[in-house]
């Protein structure tokens, strides 16, 4: 039977899995987080068409979750890979959810009753909302099953949570099970697609911008949650009830920056900033909106047109890379050299949004060793040839898709996911092993 392992269930991995499964082959889709969906699930609207991200993503997640040829292994990690193309043997570690997925109805009573309710930062809302130790990352999660965060749960960490854990006492389905153990699943596959994505740049590494010091300096990803109707403010641009009249966006934070060792361009920040500037204009019609940039890289379909539109919406683009942000009274001041005016400028702000770049995942090196891959100068996985073989690797039968190979936007990640799928389908077709549709 032909099968492919896809590592990572963001948009690239999901698309690769769907194409392979739709072509009649088996897919094991391994995702480290409790839900599939990846970064795209966190986004508000997409550039330049302003489609609602989760509205176009979640139907795809449902298709993946319900596909007869896709076996989802969420909350799981690949720990070993042996063998060769056509016969890879893989070990996957399934972490215990401490909740029996067969019994869980996602009623949420465990989270309601968790002793740590409202005390753990929500990763999905990038710290701008709270969750319990028993949680689903977001309401449209697939699979829609609760997970007990073993790193935070008092019962798991200390073996004790009051007299007895309230989540277990409250669960009407009897699904909470602290005796669950980690499990190792053995798989045999013909090919492997790596779609592990990226990490957002940590803006603490640019202390001059005061991230973490000033609560109204936020990242682009946090802005997405702030602007999202499903986010912590239900889509209102507000922070701690402060009135927002001036918004400053700073591009290239963590990108094109030799001092940090991130020489490369992150490819998406120019356009997501333009989109966010547009969203601010939409929601705060009278705000002053300023964007500091180095070059505007509006290179995709409809991008230049969108950039033009945003400028016509009274968003001021100033060419220059701010040197620092400091506080003056209760406002922030962004200091930069405007390179078109050739003089220093100061712009006051109530909200500063840092367009943080995309960096290689922290575990890239470990995964590279596990899979026998190499990484390139900028730290992302190295493809077989930068021009003619962008989704292949030096390991026959192992392919790359999406941002693990380098920053890219959604359509380019989707195209690469499909490209990697084509290579996997070729391998499985040769071994003559297509499933009949619907057969497992």
């Amino acid at each position: 039977m032909g099968a492919t392992l896809v590592i990572g269930a963001g948009i690239a991995g999901m698309q690769a899995a769907l194409d392979i499964a739709d072509a009649g082959f088996k897919v094991y889709l391994v995702e480290r987080d409790p839900s599939i969906g990846g970064r795209m699930a966190q986004l508000d609207e997409t550039f330049p068409t302003l489609d609602c991200s989760s509205c176009i993503l979640t139907p795809k997640m449902v298709s993946v979750g319900g596909h007869p040829n896709i076996e989802l292994l969420t909350y799981s990690e690949v720990v070993q890979l042996e063998g060769d193309v056509g016969d890879f043997r893989v070990k996957v570690r399934r972490r215990p959810r401490y909740i029996d997925a067969d019994k869980c109805t996602a009623c949420g009573i465990c989270a309601e009753n968790c002793r740590l309710k409202g005390r753990i930062d929500s990763e999905f809302n990038v710290g701008m909302g709270k969750r319990s130790a028993a949680y689903v990352p977001f309401p449209q999660a697939v699979p829609l099953k609760y997970t007990i965060d073993s790193e935070r749960c008092l019962m798991v960490q200390r073996g004790k949570c009051g007299e007895s854990p309230p989540c277990r006492n409250a669960c009407p389905a009897g699904a909470v099970d602290f005796d669950q153990q980690e499990e190792i699943v053995d798989l045999q596959v013909d090919s492997v697609i790596v779609a592990t994505g990226f990490d957002p740049f940590d803006p603490h590494l640019k202390p001059e911008y005061g991230y973490g010091l000033y609560d109204n300096v936020i990242t682009g990803l946090q802005f997405e949650r702030l602007s999202s109707a499903s986010g912590p403010t239900y889509g209102e641009i507000k922070l701690n009830d402060r009135e927002i009249n001036d918004v400053v966006f700073i591009q290239c934070v963590g990108s094109r920056d030799r001092n940090l060792g991130n020489v490369y361009c992150s490819r998406v920040c120019c356009m997501y900033t333009a989109k966010q500037a547009h969203l601010v204009r939409e929601k705060l019609p009278d705000a002053r909106v300023t964007v500091f940039y180095m070059d505007i890289r509006a290179f995709g379909k409809g991008f230049e047109e969108f950039y033009d539109r945003v400028r016509e919406e009274r968003v001021q683009y100033r060419r220059g890379n701010p040197a620092e942000i400091h506080r003056r009274g209760d406002r922030l001041v962004v200091r930069a050299e405007d390179t078109l005016l050739g003089q220093p400028v100061e712009v006051e702000a109530d909200l500063v949004v840092l367009a943080i770049g995309l960096v290689p995942r922290a575990d890239t090196q470990a995964l590279a060793e596990l899979l026998g891959l190499s990484s390139c100068e900028d730290g992302f996985f190295q493809e077989a040839h930068p021009k003619f073989r962008p989704t292949e690797t030096d390991v026959s039968g192992v392919f790359l898709a999406g941002c693990c190979q380098g920053p890219k936007d959604i359509p380019d990640a989707v195209a690469q996911g499909k490209a990697a799928a084509a290579s996997a389908i070729v391998i499985m077709s040769r071994s003559g092993s297509a499933l009949t549709p619907g057969e497992e």
């Binding site: 298709s63 996602a106 361009c265 290179f299 078109l340 900028d378 359509p411 499909k418």
Partner: protein
């Protein structure tokens, strides 16, 4: 048989229940005509939720199901499968959208609850009148047509052929390779393009599953996904007449590429007037020839001391109607500046740019390297080039200095952009593809469907969809191959069940429906003078039924009585 309807109200966690009193909605539904059972549940889409519906179908003999939940785009398929497993026709399911169209857009609980009740009652009224529909599959001819023999077309053909299917590559020119055959070196790795291209071409030409038809063009395309019939005209030499052949294929990949912007449309740059104003491609040609002839300088013997590159020629230019960025010129200019620097170590090299778009892997590093090689980047868009004595002068505003500058040059290289092919309309109408605002062929969805189109079985690869570099073109070509390999591998494809139904007794053959149909699913049967609907091409959009003046066409699943029942229950 009387309708026995089951109504299921989903809480969607708190997504619906927070704003809508779901229990009250379920209770109200209980009193509606034909409702046998009405329940609410925290997540109808979960396994236990679906089980609830299936048990009721089996135990209570339900023959219609209404699920009041999220948009049908989310879970209609999920619930259709669920009712089908329990023995009902999947089209006996009706979704009432009380999330996107109610709880998510209202704040007041009382009026939102009232509205949800209205939505549910109209869904019940409609459900009672639903008719069973048949699910249909069509067979797939195990072969693909690839239009265009550039790198996109060749790569797509190779993936399809490697997976065991026949691929026909139809190329207008006498040779394959497309525009890439005119390039010297790649950016940013400076590989010899022709060596890399030759590998691709040789693999394609030697592949037993690939037929390359050069000097050929697609004349006509008939049919639909799974069984296209394609007329291909071939003319091996000008003196010979064109011969035609018919190909039968299951899928089509369009990889027709781009045209290079015609620099003479920017007369202020003097292209055509001054012989030392050349395009980037012309420079590539000189560089290639010099490389082939081993050493002869591509730029003359010491005559060239100042070289000026001008970016964005024909791109980002509203006055020309080309508002878009051509995506490759910044980097090909950086590469050419580097190659010129190698040829002419002492030349002054200036690049005029608007923004430098070095966004790909290794691009920024390469751009940095080129600047370190004493290539002067000046931000500004030259307004004109004129001749002073035997030299050229580029006049521009340097926007960083904030003042006008003049730069003398012996050679000016114009980074001409990529524009849609002049025959894009022709190919578009052959395959019923539309074009985006910028004139390139339009993909199904700008984010999630970058290689699919509104015509099932027809996919896009490479620059016909928009400018892109070699890397992105190869990825897209493989992506298009993947889309084509899905029906080819499975051997059949499920087509839309919700299609139009035409009553020939009422039809006068006026053809208004055919004008409204963007899928070309309607044609006139001249013998009977009535329209005929192709049930495979029809996507069930309903445009025809609204266009028909005599009410001869109805859209199955959205019949007038079904829609009126929905409306009447809420007015």
């Amino acid at each position: 048989m009387a309708a026995k309807v089951g109504v299921y109200i989903c809480h969607c966690g708190i997504n619906i229940a927070h704003t809508v009193d779901v229990e009250a909605v379920a209770q109200a539904a209980q009193d509606l005509a034909n409702v046998t059972v009405s329940r609410d549940y925290i997540y109808m889409c979960s396994d236990p939720g679906q089980q609830l519906i299936q048990d009721d179908i089996r135990e209570l003999g339900l023959n219609r199901v209404v699920v009041a939940s999220c948009s049908p785009r989310m879970h209609e398929l999920t619930f259709r499968r669920a009712v089908q497993e329990a023995g009902l026709n999947p089209y006996f399911l009706q979704i009432a959208n009380i999330r996107e169209q109610c709880s998510w857009v209202h704040g007041d609980r009382e009026s939102a609850t009232e509205k949800a009740q209205g939505i549910v009652s109209s869904a019940v009224a409609r459900a009672c009148l639903l008719q069973p529909l048949e699910e249909r599959d069509v067979e797939i001819t195990p072969a693909a047509l690839v239009i265009g023999g550039g790198i996109a077309g060749l790569q797509a053909a190779l993936d399809i052929a490697d997976a065991g299917f026949k691929a026909y590559v139809v190329e207008k020119q006498a040779t394959v390779g497309g525009h890439v055959a005119q390039l010297a070196r790649t950016f940013p790795t400076l590989d010899n393009v022709q060596t890399l291209l030759a590998e691709l071409v040789e693999r394609a030409q030697a592949h037993p599953n690939i037929d390359v038809l050069t000097n050929s063009r697609v004349l006509e395309v008939d049919g639909f996904i799974g069984s296209f019939r394609v007329q291909v005209g071939s003319q091996p030499a000008d003196s010979l007449p064109e011969t035609t052949a018919e190909l039968a294929v299951g899928a089509i990949i369009v990889a027709t590429g781009f045209d290079v912007f015609d620099a003479s449309l920017k007369p202020e740059f003097g292209y055509g007037a001054y012989e030392n104003v050349i395009t980037g491609l012309e420079l590539e040609k000189r560089l290639m020839e010099s490389e082939a002839s081993n050493g002869a300088s591509p730029l003359g013997d010491g005559a060239v001391k100042d070289v000026v590159f001008i970016q964005c020629v024909g791109s980002r230019d509203r006055t020309l109607g080309n508002a878009y960025c051509s995506r490759v010129c910044c980097m090909s200019t950086a590469k050419q500046a580097h190659l010129v620097r190698q040829e002419l170590p002492d030349a002054r090299i200036t690049v005029f740019y608007m923004d430098v778009r070095a966004f790909g892997k290794g691009f920024e590093q390469f751009y940095d390297r080129v600047r370190e090689e004493r290539v002067l980047y000046r931000r500004g868009n030259p307004s004109e080039i004129y001749k002073r004595g035997d030299r050229l002068v580029a006049r521009a505003e340097d926007t960083l200095l904030g003042k006008p500058v003049e730069v003398e040059a012996d050679l000016v290289v114009l980074a001409t952009g990529l524009v849609p092919r002049s025959d894009a309309d022709e190919i578009g109408s052959l395959l019923k593809l539309s074009r985006s605002e910028d004139g390139f062929l339009m993909e199904l969805h700008p984010k999630l469907g970058p290689v699919d189109t509104t015509t099932d079985g027809v996919f896009l690869a490479g620059c016909c969809q928009g400018p892109k570099d070699i890397t992105d073109t190869i990825a897209q070509a493989k992506a298009a191959a993947s889309s084509a390999l899905i029906p080819l591998s499975v051997g059949k494809v499920r087509v839309e069940s919700i299609t139009c139904a035409l009553d020939p007794l009422l039809c006068s053959g006026c053809g208004l429906c055919a004008e409204a149909c963007i899928y070309s699913a309607l044609a006139l049967d001249e013998r009977r003078n009535v329209m005929v609907a192709n049930q495979v091409l029809c996507k069930g959009c309903g445009a025809c039924s609204t266009a028909c003046p005599s009410g001869a066409i109805v859209l199955n699943h959205f019949t007038p009585d079904q829609i009126l029942a929905e409306v009447e229950s809420v007015v």
